[in-house]
Symmetry: C2
Subunit: 221 residues, 2 copies
Amino acid sequence: MARLSRERVLEAAVALADEAGLDGLSMRRLATELGVVPMALYKHVANKDELLDGIIDTVVGEIDLGPVEGDWKPAVRARILTAREQLLRHPWASSAIESRRNPTPAVMTYMNSIIGLFRRGGFSVNLAHHAIHSLGSRILGFSQELFDDMAADPETQEAAAHAMKDTFPWLAELALQVAHDEKSIVGSGCDDQFEFEFALDLLLDGFERIHQSARSGPQPR
Amino acid sequence: MARLSRERVLEAAVALADEAGLDGLSMRRLATELGVVPMALYKHVANKDELLDGIIDTVVGEIDLGPVEGDWKPAVRARILTAREQLLRHPWASSAIESRRNPTPAVMTYMNSIIGLFRRGGFSVNLAHHAIHSLGSRILGFSQELFDDMAADPETQEAAAHAMKDTFPWLAELALQVAHDEKSIVGSGCDDQFEFEFALDLLLDGFERIHQSARSGPQPR
DNA sequence: ACCATAGGTGTACGGCGTACACTCGTCAAG
DNA sequence: CTTGACGAGTGTACGCCGTACACCTATGGT
């Protein structure tokens, strides 16, 4: 067994989180996985919090930040969709990032690059600021959904929808239509990718409109 | 000491979470607070998960869903801002809701009411669906921010911004301007309420535009 | 040849959620 | 009035968790 190192620890932690989820990632289990006693890990990470920051930094750091051509809009869009692609490979990443209070260096690098795209596109500092806030976690390619359970097969889903027709009529109506659409087209649940791009474009269009009206009239806010 | 009951347990749990945070809310501590042995709680809630669902349901259930007058837009806006007001009273609520996989009944009731506002405003089922997804957690009045640390006093903040001018130039520029604005106007950090309403209005405006163009042209999606 | 140091170990503590077997007070049926 | 079932609260115990602290040991610079 090779020597331990921060890299080896983080790498193994990412792998473990991938297969066991965030809950399954414990210092003790990670140590076992590395063939080492739990306390050995503490020579390479300060504590579990720092470990989590570390694995976030690892996966966020792998987002391709190479130069993008074209206007700010397609550029931002492309970069965010790239981030999404990367983070979808690690299902635990979004919850992990959400749960942190302070951004890791890689996250700051990423944000910095997005702000740069806005600014080079002619956004005022203020508008860029508002844009960042408006995008929220969507900036990293994930959205905070309140429902995860639209994932059953259309039949079950349809049955559930019927069951709540009395209590939640509007919700039921919506669920029924979704179930119907899915049955006639493709796999289970809502089309998350479509919904993500829909919301993203809505926001980007909004930014663009403000940006343009600011170019002619006086500055916003 | 009065007898225990689900209500008393949930009430105490909300209070404990309010003052000790989500991490400080443990079955054992909650039991102590109620002057009872830990296992006694299990006669009233199935397990900790159900307890969390319970307190979420409690606070979300307290959001005022009374009838709102006027167009869908001010109506939705008002309802969401009411929800925000309520959830801001319980700082743990947003993280708790985010962490759940399935919505509690009160959340479904709330979502149902919002969908109702859209539908009565003439939205197609599809548009209402996209709108719900686009709002994401903002529908309940909170947004997933990647930065919480803009909360220090402007001086510290400004110093930090200067320190990262080399590594994250765009981020630093933004932070500097924020720090400057704050110094000349009001208390610390970004104006979260302003940013929230800014993003909310951006989304609602977007919905409106799609809604209107759908009224004339063929249906969207 | 020496010894400081860094990496890995072993033991232990206090906390967590909760399974399971129990006691005991209340209240309805006989 | 007796009885017995039942539901609320108890006590003990198990297996996890993160991590403090003292320890050993191999390595590499002097």
